[in-house]
């Protein structure tokens, strides 16, 4: 559940970011395509990293074992 919700949040952020770049620096179709590519690449990279870390902790095989004196 939390996974899907956050993935949705990432995609919404991607859409908002592309709209912002389109509004702020609209410099012709080829430049727009480049900006779109950059925004999508960045979002995909960030999402992948978050998803990997999240999935790894969903059903953990190892649990934190506190060290002495904590």
């Amino acid at each position: 559940m939390g996974f899907l919700v956050t993935t949705l949040i990432f995609s919404v952020i991607a859409v908002i970011a592309s709209l912002c770049t389109r509004i702020c620096c609209n410099r012709g179709p080829s430049a727009n395509l480049l900006h779109l590519t950059l925004v999508i690449t960045a979002t995909v990279c960030c999402w992948m990293m978050w998803a990997i870390v999240y999935l790894a902790q969903m059903k953990p095989l190892i649990v934190p074992i506190l060290s002495e004196g904590e």
Binding site: K59, P60, I65
Partner: protein, 818 residues
């Protein structure tokens, strides 16, 4: 040629389309056209006179003239620095300063400066000599005066004694003594002068030895230093008087003085004459001083006018020199009425170039316009990317490995994001990221000021890469939040931690550990992990798997880019017999591994993935047992294994044979093609530029090339995937270092409860963080991220054997000089 002409192109993905252009310029407008083209900066001239030596070229004399003017300018600069002036930056730029007038003016200025310098030298020499003379006269005069007064006193004493005695027989003696034999009377001559103090002892000794002790030397020390007229430097000197007898002795003394650089000056014993001389000399000194001062003022004024115009002049001379160099590259038409230029220019600049040439024709009042003629050629054009200040740094990173071939996919597009991202995966700490961001924002804010200054080497590099570092810092803040490390301290920023005690007393927290009691920590690594005993096994497993997943993703991106390259250049062979088997091979092995990793995480199974992967190869038909993650896994594994095995010969064999068939087909049709060409009105240029009809085709060479390519890919699939594990390794190193500095320095210092130890501890912590983590780790992660891009990402698709577009541009002139 390419696909996608109906779809919008993407900036920076492929290099700008270039065209080979021939310009036929009438002679009157040649200089002006080249000058305007240089201002525009979009035309790369080809050297049409490459066989000629520099002296045979048409404009060799002009270039020599410019060289001469450059020499004069360097002389001016030297003189200015000697006078302590510096040229004004970017003084008034008035257009159209005639080169001939300028040359004449420079000649005049140079002559004037040289004359002034010579005069100054002479005057200064006389001045120094006169000063020395004055000192000699004063000191020697003192000495003589004192000696004479002593002698007079002694004489009076002797006379008094003698008068006192006054006996009868003494007059005889007196008379005898009074009569002196003129021939026996020896005349003592003397030499006066100045000798440098260091040499005075040696001077004395040598005089003594040379004249066998028959001289009398008296020296007196001068306070303060005197400027030596010969060398122009201040030196400490002594005044000396040497008394000698005889002509030979005199010669010896003169020679010794010359050897020691001791200046001799004439001295007159007469007291009244001495006063006269001193007043005369003082008067002359005053005159000389005023003359010298006036001369200096004059020189400074002249140099200041030069300084005012210097930048403008030097820029102009550089411009003219480059224009004549370029003109020398053009070939002169037989009729000697026009010049032919050939060169590359981007297609988008065609209108601009034509306008500029038009303007040149109008401005030079020429009757004929320049002809702009596009040539067809098989030559490979230069690569040109239009970058702005943000993307230029990333493009340079890619170019450092190899310039992109004309119109192949540019990895620079993705590098803008993936390079800082991979750096951040290895650097992840949002505290350090914030420090980097602050440091680089200083450079970005002061951008305008820094770009006009001359910076040191390292500062120059950092300034050039400021946007790269900014991106790196931003991504580091993100990954730092994910790894949950702020100078290695975790924070519970995004909600409660997922782990809690098994029972209210928390008895076995140190033995069996905590349990997951709430939903997964929503963003990043759970803060409870830091400092636990099982932190490393968990993080290692997480980071290793993350490296593999990121690596497989980037390699797939590389292969997909090779697909787009093949599609763009219409190379069907590459798509069917290279892209497809490569995708199948990589994904059936490592894509499958990635899938297993994700499935294992989702299910939470205890399957041993090493076991699964290894036994997939060793005994694929065996039952998976405990390691089964999903239904049908065994069947899927067998299918994937077969697919991978089939992909290897698929990559290796078909392509060479098909290439051979293609070449034969083309060769068969060659004879018809030649006939066609001769029927056309042959533009000489076209035949020249068309490649030679006989392309070399060595089947064995092609086959070996394909074999190497295949082996490289197959082995590379394993080794490159493993290479991505450096993401894990460096990230672990960074977090461990950070943790050590925090625990063992800061917390230790805090534990002492002493303010001085705390201050020292904070100081050591800051030094260690900046030196090791912010500088060394940044460079290290930068280097490894670079390597991952250059090798693991780019060897999937990048050829990088193009050459860079270097247009004739005045803007680049200034850059290359500095």
């Amino acid at each position: 040629m390419g696909g996608g002409t109906h779809r919008p192109t993407m900036d920076l993905l492929r290099s700008e389309p270039m065209q080979l252009v021939q310009l036929i310029i009438p002679i009157e407008s040649a200089h002006r056209s080249i000058s305007y083209l240089g201002d525009l900066g979009f035309f790369q001239f080809k050297d049409l006179n490459s066989e000629k030596s520099p002296f045979q070229r048409t404009y060799a004399t002009q270039i020599k003239r410019c060289g001469e003017m450059a020499r004069k300018l360097r002389f001016f600069k030297e003189q200015m620095t000697k006078a302590g002036l510096s040229p004004w930056t970017r003084s008034a730029m008035s257009d159209d300063v005639d080169l001939d007038n300028l040359e004449v003016k420079h000649g005049e200025l140079e002559a004037e400066l040289l004359e002034m310098n010579a005069n100054h030298e002479k005057l200064q020499h006389s001045y120094n000599e006169l000063i020395e003379y004055k000192l000699v006269v004063q000191k020697a005069g003192e000495f003589f005066h004192s000696a004479q007064s002593i002698a007079a006193a002694k004489q009076r004493e002797v006379e008094a004694q003698q008068r006192g005695e006054g006996s009868i027989d003494s007059p005889l003696l007196l008379e005898q003594e009074m009569v002196t034999d003129p021939s026996k009377q020896v005349k003592l001559g003397f030499v006066t002068g100045l000798v440098p103090r260091e040499k005075s002892l040696a001077f004395e000794r040598i005089l003594f030895r040379a004249t066998r002790g028959n001289v009398f030397l008296k020296q007196s020390v001068l306070e303060g230093s005197v400027t030596d007229p010969a060398s122009g430097e201040k030196a400490e000197k002594n005044v000396f008087v040497v008394f000698y007898s005889g002509e030979r002795a005199r010669n010896k003394i003169v020679k010794i003085c010359e050897a020691f650089g001791a200046n001799r000056y004439p001295f007159i014993e007469d007291l009244s004459k001495q006063f006269q001389i001193i007043t005369e000399v003082s008067g002359r000194l005053e005159e000389l001083k005023t003359t010298i001062d006036v001369g200096l003022v004059h020189q400074t004024n002249l140099l200041q006018t030069i300084a005012y115009h210097f930048e403008q002049w030097s820029h102009l001379v550089k411009k003219e020199k480059s224009i004549y160099h370029t003109l020398s590259m053009l070939s002169i038409d037989v009729t000697k009425k026009c010049l032919v230029a050939e060169g590359w220019c981007p297609v988008f600049a065609t209108n601009k170039i034509q306008n500029v040439l038009q303007r040149a024709t109008v401005d030079s009042n020429s009757q004929i316009g320049t002809i702009f003629h596009i040539l067809q050629t098989k030559e490979s054009p230069p690569t040109y990317f239009q970058t702005n200040k943000f993307s230029s740094a990333f493009q340079e990173i890619v170019d450092a490995y190899g310039i992109a071939k004309y119109q192949e996919a540019n990895p620079g597009v993705f590098t803008i994001i993936t390079f800082p991202f991979l750096f951040a995966v290895m650097f992840g700490d949002w505290g350090h990221g914030i420090c980097l961001f602050l440091a680089t924002s200083y450079f970005i804010i002061k951008e305008k000021k820094f770009s006009s200054q001359k910076l040191g080497d390292i500062t120059e590099m950092i300034f050039g890469g400021r946007y790269v570092i900014m991106m790196m810092a931003l991504f580091s803040i993100y990954t730092g939040l994910i790894y949950n490390e702020f100078f290695s301290v975790p924070f519970e920023l995004f909600g409660p931690s997922a782990y809690g005690c098994r029972d209210p007393a928390c008895r076995d927290a140190s033995t069996a550990g905590l349990v997951k009691v709430r939903a997964t920590y929503p963003f990043g690594v759970d803060p409870k992990w830091h400092g636990t005993r099982s932190e490393l096994p968990f993080l290692n497993s997480l980071k290793m798997k993350m490296s593999i997943l990121l690596g497989v993703a980037q390699m797939n991106l590389g292969i997909i880019l090779s697909y787009f390259n093949a599609k763009f250049s219409g190379n069907e062979l590459n798509i069917r017999y290279q892209f497809l088997p490569q995708m199948i091979f990589l994904n059936s092995l490592f894509g499958y591994l990635s899938l297993l990793i994700v499935v294992k995480w989702c299910i939470g199974s205890q399957a041993d993935l090493y076991h699964v992967m290894i036994y997939m190869f060793l005994s694929p038909t065996d039952d998976l047992g405990e390691n089964q993650l999903f239904f049908g896994q065994k069947f899927l594994q067998i299918v994937l294994l077969l697919a991978a095995l089939v992909a290897v010969p698929w990559m290796l064999f078909p392509k060479p044979f098909l290439l051979k068939k293609q070449h034969e087909e083309r060769h068969r049709g060659q004879s018809y093609a030649l006939l066609e060409n001769s029927l056309d009105e042959s533009d000489e240029m076209e035949v020249r530029h068309g490649s030679s009809s006989h392309e070399e085709f060595e089947f064995s060479e092609i086959f070996v090339h394909q074999l190497i390519h295949t082996i490289e890919f197959v082995l590379g699939a394993v080794s490159n995937t493993a290479s991505y594990l450096r993401l894990w390794a460096l990230s672990l190193a960074h977090s461990e270092l950070s943790s050590v500095f925090y625990d063992k320095v800061l917390l230790l210092a805090w534990g002492f409860n002493n303010i001085f130890i705390l201050i020292i501890g904070i100081f050591v912590f800051i030094c260690a963080t900046v030196g090791v983590l912010l500088v060394m780790e940044t460079l290290s992660a930068f280097l490894h991220a670079l390597r991952l891009h250059w090798v693991e990402f780019q060897n999937k698709f990048y050829e990088g054997d193009g050459y860079k577009f270097q247009p004739f541009s005045f803007a680049s002139l200034d850059a290359e000089d500095e």
